[in-house]
């Protein structure tokens, strides 16, 4: 797919001696929201970490706008325009909410201003002087997403943003993702909750045992329910 923003080809990755990704292929076009679905241990988070370069032992090809990312050190990968929101949120206890928000350096023009971010996440404005880890789980997730929006990253890698959150917060995060999608942001979302993901996903990839087993457009989700139930074990 030549017009892809991100191209992943035949990606293999290892944790130590353990071979965890087996020839993963993935494409994301500009402005798309693509969701990786799979059960725990399928390799979804590992795929994000391998794309980002946090997991260093990799083979294959990862290209952002045609530029090879595989040989770049981690910080240089981020500077090419990849924004990473980890599953564990990564809020820093020694920084206030505002310091957490301002921490990631800008990698390109076009990121949101702090004012725009506070407009999108009013809770963060109210608690801007609080220690980052004193926020509720939902607020921490908002903060984790918000701080990447400031950087101008062209592609956001979002790892299980709804995990462990109350339904009302999940709903709020869904609204935020819809808003980001309407702004034309490109998102690679990892989720187990496909009912949540269907609100925003243009395409789905299914993963199992470190392999991509299928991909289909978001509007065909209902016709893949049997496969989904089998792959996700639900």
């Amino acid at each position: 797919m030549s017009n892809a923003l991100l191209e992943v080809r035949a990606l293999n990755a290892w944790y130590g001696e353990s071979h965890v990704l087996h020839g993963v292929d993935l494409d994301i076009r500009e402005g798309e929201t693509v969701t990786l679905l799979g059960r725990n241990g399928a390799g979804k988070t590992t795929t994000l970490r391998a794309i980002m370069g946090i997991l260093r032992r990799r083979e294959g090809a990862i290209r952002l706008r045609g530029r090879d990312l595989l040989a770049l050190p981690l910080h240089r990968v981020a500077q090419t325009g990849l924004g990473y929101v980890p599953e564990e949120r990564g809020i820093f206890a020694s920084l206030s909410v505002e310091e957490n928000l301002a921490l990631p350096p800008k990698v390109a023009d076009g990121g949101m201003s702090i004012e725009e971010i506070y407009h999108l996440f009013p809770n963060l404005y109210e608690r801007r002087h609080s220690q980052g880890t004193k926020l509720s789980g939902g607020e921490q997730q908002m903060l984790a997403i918000a701080r990447i929006l400031r950087t101008g990253a062209s592609l956001i890698l979002l790892d299980e943003p709804t995990e462990g959150l109350a339904p009302v917060i999940v709903q709020r995060i869904g609204d935020v993702l819809v808003a980001l999608k309407e702004r034309g942001m490109t998102i690679l979302l990892v989720e187990q909750n496909f009912r949540f993901a269907r609100k925003v996903a243009d395409r789905f990839y299914l993963m199992e045992d470190g392999r991509m087993v299928n991909s289909f457009p978001g509007n065909e989700l209902d016709s893949h329910m049997d496969e989904l139930h089998s792959v996700l074990g639900v």
């Binding site: 946090i54 981690l74 990473y84």
Partner: protein, 295 residues
Amino acid sequence: MSTIFGIPAPALYGQILIGLINGSFYALLSLGLAVIFGLLRVINFAHGAQYMLGAFAAYGLLSYAGIDYWPSLVLAPLIVGAVAMAIERTMLSRLYGLDPLYGLLLTFGLALIFEGAFRYWFGTSGKPYSPPAQLTGAVNLGFMFLPIYRGWVVIASLVICLGTWLLIEKTRLGSYLRAATENATLVQAFGVNVPRLLTLTYGLGAALAALAGVLAAPIYQVSPLMGSNLIIIVFAVVVVGGMGSILGAIITGYVLGVLEGLTKVFYAEASSIVIFVVMAIVLLVRPAGLFGREA
């Protein structure tokens, strides 16, 4: 003559001043150690040697290049900081992610090498280093005479400690440092060049030690052993303050320096162990240190 708790007031004030001066060096040195440990998780046993190198750099600049005290206050930390950054790049960086024992052993070995080399070149007797003309003499405070240079050391140390604290707590670079202390991988995933940050941090910590060495040179003379005499006490200060706690290192440095000075007045025999007694009590009651974060 007035007395306080039966002690002549000038003797008491004199020991408090000596305590404050020693505390200034404890604070400066433990501050550098805390900065290095906080980010690199390296127990920098070469810190005493870097303090000694700072003093010798000032001595060498004066003896061989005619560069006096004031420029040496800047040049010596820069020289030692540059040496430290080279050590971090070529040696320490290979040990990240391994057991902290490896870093401790490497820096301990480096300290022995530096000390041995300087003993070979300069012997063990102290080399005199005069304070600058502007800071000689003493002022009468009414209750005691204060040597001007010693007063300068206390003030300079306070300013440096405050400046370092502000750098870490109030600047963008400081927020990178604090965040990287918690999760260096994530900070790097945000696009911050963490390997360079580690190098700069080690250089900064060593430069602080060297600066303390320059300040100490006119008081204690310049000797290859000056660092090893001090480093164990400084480690105790860092443990009491809380490993990696910047504020803890500063406050504990001054408090323990004064406590040591007061012990000399009231029970001199215990003055050499009082800091270690405090360390043992703190470890029993609060293992993370007075200002450290409990795991």
